[in-house]
Symmetry: C2
Subunit: 195 residues, 2 copies
Amino acid sequence: MQKKSTRVRKEEIIQAALAVVGEKGVRALTIAAIAEQAGMSEANIYRHFGGKDDIYAAIGNFIGSEVMGKAATIAGGSRRPIEKLETIFRSHISLLSEQPGIPRFVFSDDVHLTQRNVAEFLAVRIGNYVDTIAGIIAAGIEEGEIRQGLVPRETALTLLGMIQITVFRWTIGTASFDIKGDAEKLWGNFIGLVS
Amino acid sequence: MQKKSTRVRKEEIIQAALAVVGEKGVRALTIAAIAEQAGMSEANIYRHFGGKDDIYAAIGNFIGSEVMGKAATIAGGSRRPIEKLETIFRSHISLLSEQPGIPRFVFSDDVHLTQRNVAEFLAVRIGNYVDTIAGIIAAGIEEGEIRQGLVPRETALTLLGMIQITVFRWTIGTASFDIKGDAEKLWGNFIGLVS
DNA sequence: ATAATATGCGAATACATGTTCACATGAGGT
DNA sequence: ACCTCATGTGAACATGTATTCGCATATTAT
């Protein structure tokens, strides 16, 4: 087996772990499963991570920085508020459907209850995410694209709820669930709700 | 130890299991934990249930019939559509905050992936639930209480998403999270969205 | 080239978990 | 009162899981 630096191995292990969560859920995120997915021995995983808690934290960091950061980029663009919201909504649904491990991990009660520090970290990131979307909505109201009288923060939470329930129905239902089509319908109705 | 009939023991075991899930999550739903919570031996649990899968199914049935049925009762009442929606929303938030085991179980990826039959059953029940709420919204549109142009089904999903994200933020955050207050704010904004 | 160090792995360990079994005991029908 | 059967339990078992340890080997610096 070719040797690689810890930096590279850490990324491989995190990606393998996310793949396992996506396919079999957080419950199946065992060291053995990660090792098999990553194509290395179980003992080797301990060369690069202190233990399972350490791996949980690394997954949380990855999701927090790589994923949640995207919204900030879109928010900083020069398009109109409604367009920004649509882009964020679409790319979010797209990402979650391609990397099911991400929502599984974030919504896992196992993580919430046994990895409190990871949960707190994610809670803060999600809070920032809500703020970002609320800011776009506030701008939309000011520019007249979005109806007056709406509360930006609560409207942002409503939008996130749409994403969450879509992912949930996709996860719980059969594999043939058309998540993209479902999301489109919800978005169309959201336009009607806010304009 | 006093002996009781299987019928009554089954209920005790299910309630104990729901309590365990509410306090420590689905991951911690072990036979040992249920036995301790219910105050009986592990072996005795096997007197009344075939095994863990059987217990999962029983929990799913309980949640499906006892809980989801409430919405149908409210929907059948004689109040105005918006009032019905508010009652459903409030009682739902109230129930989930008092019995955290219910959302933990329903949203558990462990259940979704390893208990497919339970997941399918819940999916059908949730589908009925969506239909019920969509029916109320359709009536609201017809009576002029709710804005025209909205799609009942998608608006119903949006309402459910509000509930789901509220429970999620409550679960992931600190124990001091004010779920009732948060839900009230969301409801107030929902009124603005649909009317 | 060689020493030093980081990387890799099979095997062993300690513990948790689902399940079964042989045996005890209490409740209800006769 | 007694018999029968459902209910209850401690102990044992097989398997799964996280983690550690001694040893091998590739990479890097000198």
